[in-house]
Subunit: 349 residues, 2 copies
């Protein structure tokens, strides 16, 4: 079965609304959280007493610990609607997509095999297997990708892509749909950029509800293929595996489905490793959530954007997930970032 | 003004119900969370298909990041009811009580001064000051305690004790009241033991609602003054500052108000440092919460207790708080505890 089909349409708002209904039995409606201290600190450029409000959509509380279940569940549930479930699903991932496919496939009673690089953390491997999937480890990501491409030629086998597919994009867009339906008027939505599936779904949902809304992304400066692609107008691919704390955004390139949506963003911020580490410690502390550097990175974009606003804004940040290896935690806490408050950081102290 | 008054009654269930009404404007009703994976792993000794259920009361999501606000708010609100607010509040704490007093005093418009040891983490110091309190740092905890005792002799000054007071105990009991009112039938409630204020309030609330309920505590083996006190029948004091990850339970002794309640516990587990570290990494991962070793320690008690049960139990764990210094995070993640699942740990693998 071909890996992708150029005949499929990109995702629409209706696709996202239908996705939300379709995946409702599998997913949680995740909470929206706020830190009054953070709101105050980031409002220093406003007149006295006026406040920006930052609402965090806690997708770390999603089943399997990340928004990825939304896309995988929508992809599989659409096949189920058409009585087109295959004998097996396959996917290549060393991260949250692996667990999402494992869980969603199990929900529909279809065996799944995940092709990962050997660098998959023990805890992600254990979670993937605990949801009933078979796990195949390869020396490198490239070898895992080649193996999944070969396996996708087997009969009655469907490959579930991590981001570059309309059904995945529509599923990921349900997080923003939920947030905006709950909050009403919002000035901007922020999300991290890996392959662009989450940002694409975010953009479609947000712009349909409010054509004037700002949709803003963040990606690691050390893995800035999307920013390079936007500057050049064509999809660029990283030449080697990037070194970044934001491992969920280390994807080597965006996709043909996601790139046109990324071109409609108001801005894509490129975030340094030190800023990723800084905001991860602070969001852990302020929100009391165990969340990935990939989503905490987005706070640097929020801070820079809010600093340019001269009246109070209400923004949403999609906290993409909470699956962090102990090794990454060790790197994150090598130094104390909490001794400088966000107010001091913004003042350049 | 004397630090304490022997004429006051210990806390009753009615005191807790009134405390809940009194502090409602200051506090959040915190969520109850569950991990289906953890429930499954801890149910290995049950017949097939039967499951224990562990509900976590997320007091890390409380304003100021810990349950401590409940007690401090109740203490101050009772004075306000009697038009007996002083000109200043004082408290000695390097932890969550400091922030709780700072926040609650500010809410009632009364200045507060916190006496801490110089080891107070920069982030707790900043939070305490951001709530408007003055912070005085001393070389040692003993010097801070002596200074607060002297300061309590100043006119129109009230010292807010961290645990050994009926109003504090009644306030802390509101966390369990909320949880049990929400859940209905529960077999056991677990909480960590520092000075015993939280456990005392937990015991009063839980036993009033269900005299047969199990109320179970946990304290660090390295700071086991409460366990020593229970064994000897008299309050024992640690001779030196204990070395434990569970810094919220490093209190040198329990109090004259809390000790009689602790004597009514079904059990008090003493937990090793390696088990504290193990459960902290696992609860971070499973619950996606940034929570203190002090409350994660309690999971070892839950695991040991559930392993002795031969039919499914529903239990509540009070997650006391989420204020963790980067230094403690560094210690917590020195090694990978996630490579051994709780199921393997319980099987002795």
């Amino acid at each position: 079965m071909p890996v992708d089909s150029a005949t499929q349409q990109a995702a629409t708002y209706d696709d996202i609304v239908h996705a939300a209904q379709r995946i409702a039995p599998l997913i949680h409606t995740t909470p929206l959280l706020e830190s009054s201290l953070l709101n105050r600190w980031l409002s220093v450029s406003l007149p006295d007493g006026q406040r920006h409000r930052i609402h965090f959509k806690a997708e770390c509380m999603q089943t399997t610990g990340a928004f990825k279940l939304r896309g995988a569940a929508n992809f599989i549930a659409r096949l189920a609607e058409r009585n087109a479930l295959p004998k097996q699903f396959i996917a290549n991932s060393s991260g949250n997509h692996a667990q999402a496919v494992a869980y969603a496939a199990s929900h529909f009673g279809v065996p799944a095999t995940i092709f990962s690089s050997k660098t998959i953390s023990s805890v992600k491997a254990a979670a993937t297997q605990s949801y009933g999937a078979q796990l195949k480890r390869f020396e490198t990501r490239l070898l895992a990708d080649a193996a999944v491409a070969a396996a996708s030629q087997q009969p009655d086998t469907v490959w579930i892509p991590p981001y570059n597919h309309p059904d995945i994009i529509a599923g990921q867009g349900t997080a923003t749909l939920e947030a905006l339906q709950s909050l009403g008027s919002v000035d901007a939505v922020f999300a991290p950029c890996g392959g662009g599936g989450l940002l694409s779904g975010t953009l479609v949902a947000a712009r349909a509800l409010n054509p004037a809304i700002n949709v803003i992304g963040a990606e690691p400066l050390n893995a800035n293929d999307a920013a390079q692609s936007l500057r050049s107008g064509t999809i660029k691919t990283l030449s080697e595996a990037p070194d970044t704390l934001a491992d969920g955004a280390a994807t080597p390139c965006v996709g043909e489905y996601t790139f046109p949506y990324l071109q409609q963003l108001n801005h894509l911020y490129e975030v340094s490793e030190s800023d990723i580490g800084y905001w991860t410690q602070w969001l852990h502390h302020l929100l009391k959530l165990h969340i990935e550097p990939t989503c905490c990175m987005t706070m640097q974009a929020v801070a820079e954007w809010l600093a340019q606003q001269d009246n109070p804004k209400t923004v949403v940040v999609i906290l993409s997930g909470g699956n962090i290896s102990p090794d990454t935690m060790t790197k994150l806490y090598q130094s104390d970032q909490l001794s400088k408050t966000p107010a001091d950081k913004l003042a350049g102290c």
